[in-house]
């Protein structure tokens, strides 16, 4: 915890991010190259889904990151409300548009997979609907955090929304177990062994790692951008009050 407190200092965080960003970007690029090679060329077609299984190599990692991103946002919001860390608000604000992007990918690729496999672009079942709600929660957070003239009030209102909306994350995860839905149940993250052949599990896990590193790269860049804009605003205010 003491180490985390050290990085709550914005200047120290900026120095840390400057060192780590090239590494994150490099690892992300490498993972995408290897992951896409396996996903598109070195893995077989599924015996039921056929070639559409290749959509799963982007759809499933995007879905995982959309929930991971919301968890990061909710965790940062809780930290901001309880301990008032200077970086926590910024992290929550930075995570929202990135999480919204990954959720959009989840919804669109799911729809493009659903049409040939289920015969429909969309059904109002619990899994799809709860992911759509996740997308609206991200949009609500983006709008609310920017809706006030006083950024502190905006951050506080958005943090409350992020925490209340967090109840949706376990609903998404367990919706396939709790309700009778069209969406298939979990096949990787379950207590028994994964129900996927290793030849398909490999590209899925590599792409999941690539998406995770891409999310972290974007998050660090977005936090740096937010910190820079806050410095600009502080300097502008200082100049205006000096005149």
């Amino acid at each position: 915890m003491a180490n985390l407190h050290r990085f709550a200092n914005p200047n120290r965080f900026l120095r840390f991010s400057r060192v780590i960003l090239p590494w994150l970007a490099g690892i992300t690029a490498l993972l995408f190259i290897v992951g896409l090679y396996y996903a598109l060329f070195a893995s077989p077609a599924d015996y039921q889904q056929g070639e559409t299984v290749r959509i799963m190599y982007v759809h499933v990692p995007a879905a995982w990151i959309s929930m991971f991103g919301y968890s990061v946002m909710a965790g940062a919001s809780a930290t901001a409300l309880i301990w008032r860390h200077p970086l926590a608000d910024i992290t929550a604000r930075a995570a929202a548009p990135i999480g919204a992007g990954f959720t959009l990918i989840t919804l669109a690729t799911g729809s493009l997979w659903g049409k040939p496999m289920w015969g429909t672009w969309w059904v109002w079942d619990a899994r799809l609907t709860s992911v759509l709600i996740l997308f609206f929660l991200y949009l609500g957070h983006i709008a609310l955090s920017r809706a006030f003239d006083d950024p502190t009030r905006g951050a506080k209102a958005a943090a409350v929304l992020a925490l209340v909306g967090f109840v949706n994350v376990p609903i998404i995860k367990f919706s396939v177990d709790w309700w009778n839905v069209l969406h298939q149940p979990a096949s990787v993250s379950r207590l028994a062994a994964p129900a996927i052949d290793p030849s398909m599990l490999r590209p899925l896990l590599i792409m999941a790692l690539a998406f995770t590193f891409y999310f972290l790269t974007l998050l660090l860049l977005q936090i740096r951008a937010e910190l820079t804009h806050r410095k600009v605003r502080a300097l502008q205010l200082a100049q205006a009050s000096a005149q």
């Binding site: 077609a45 056929g50 070639e51 559409t52 290749r54 959509i55 982007v58 759809h59 995007a62 548009p97 990135i98 992007g101 959009l104 990918i105 669109a108 690729t109 493009l112 997979w113 049409k115 040939p116 891409y214 974007l218 860049l221 977005q222 740096r224 951008a225 820079t228 804009h229 410095k231 600009v232 300097l235 502008q236 100049q239």
Partner: protein, 58 residues
């Protein structure tokens, strides 16, 4: 693509487009912030040749 290319390539293309768009938007925001910050810092720094007067020796 087993007759499903019309679904697979748009899915992959859309994923790439959203990922690239997020990166471009983030980099643009960072660069514009850094440019504004350096402009502001430049206007705050004292101009060369206009030093503050030396303290009076008495």
């Amino acid at each position: 693509m087993g007759g499903h290319a019309a679904f697979i390539w748009p899915a992959l293309g859309l994923t790439a487009a959203v990922l690239i768009l997020m990166l471009v938007a983030t980099l643009y925001s960072l660069r514009s912030g850094e440019a504004a910050l350096s402009r502001l810092k430049a206007t705050r720094e004292p101009r060369p040749g206009r030093r503050s007067p030396a303290p009076d020796a008495g």
